[in-house]
């Protein structure tokens, strides 16, 4: 399953809820304000790093660039463009959009 998260972890508990429900082998794609969950040096960094042992975490690079967050993302988070987003959706049988 592919999970998408589009809310800032500072404003909603969406990312937290997604992280605790995503099963081993699934993928999480951070989009829109959700990309703030991909950053180093935040209270959520360690939680995301821990999750990365079991799930693949991606972030949509255009959304990162728009927000000036280049070079601030956690090492190991895979940055994808729009065609990459489409590929992820196509690769997974189901998509759960956490709002």
């Amino acid at each position: 399953m592919l999970h998408t998260v589009n809310k800032s972890p500072f404003e909603r508990n969406t990312l937290d809820s997604c992280l605790t429900h995503a099963k081993k082998g699934s993928a999480i794609l951070l989009i829109e304000d959700g990309v703030y969950g991909a950053l180093k040096s935040t209270p959520y960094t360690d939680k995301v790093k821990a999750a990365m042992k079991n799930v693949a975490v991606y972030a949509l690079y255009p959304d990162i660039e728009a927000r000036g967050m280049q070079d601030r993302t956690i090492d190991g988070i895979k940055l994808v463009d729009y065609p990459g987003f489409v590929d992820l959706v196509a690769e997974h049988a189901t998509v759960q959009a956490w709002l």
Binding site: Y36, S41, P43, G68, Q70
Partner: protein, 135 residues
């Protein structure tokens, strides 16, 4: 007040009233329209020569981070507008220290000069206003 002005007081002595306006920005840019709308309203207050201050706290601190490139998401990059505020005599920009640090940011990451204040000081600032508009 007269019938013809629809109840709006047109006397000259009210035209020069200057109030202290504080715009509280708490939302990240682009994900929602709040940041852009706040900026629009700030410029309106400036046009009326009001005493304007801007506060950035919570995710609002992300609004003024350097290096925003919005072409890839096909949205207007309004961050340069914060630099133009000085031209409208809006020079009181406050960033809440706790919000900034929690996000791994420093005052060097902002595209405009700001005054970094603690949460308690921010609370005092809010208390000193005539009008507070939160976005």
């Amino acid at each position: 007040m007269t019938e013809t002005t629809g109840g709006i007081d047109m006397d000259e002595d009210t035209s020069g009233v200057v109030k202290k306006f504080l715009y509280v920005n708490r939302k990240a840019p682009y994900g929602t329209i709040y940041a852009l709308e706040s900026l629009e309203v700030v410029l309106i207050a400036a046009a009326f020569d009001q005493d304007v201050s801007l506060a950035f706290l919570d995710d609002g601190v992300y609004q003024i981070v350097k290096g925003q490139h919005t072409k890839p998401i096909d949205v207007k990059n309004f961050s340069p507008t914060y630099r133009a505020l000085e031209g409208y005599d809006i020079e009181k920009l406050y960033v809440e220290k706790e919000s900034m640090e929690e996000r791994g940011l420093t005052d060097k990451d902002f595209l405009v000069p700001v005054q970094v204040v603690g949460r308690a000081e921010m609370a005092d600032l809010m208390e000193q206003q005539d009008v507070v508009l939160t976005f």
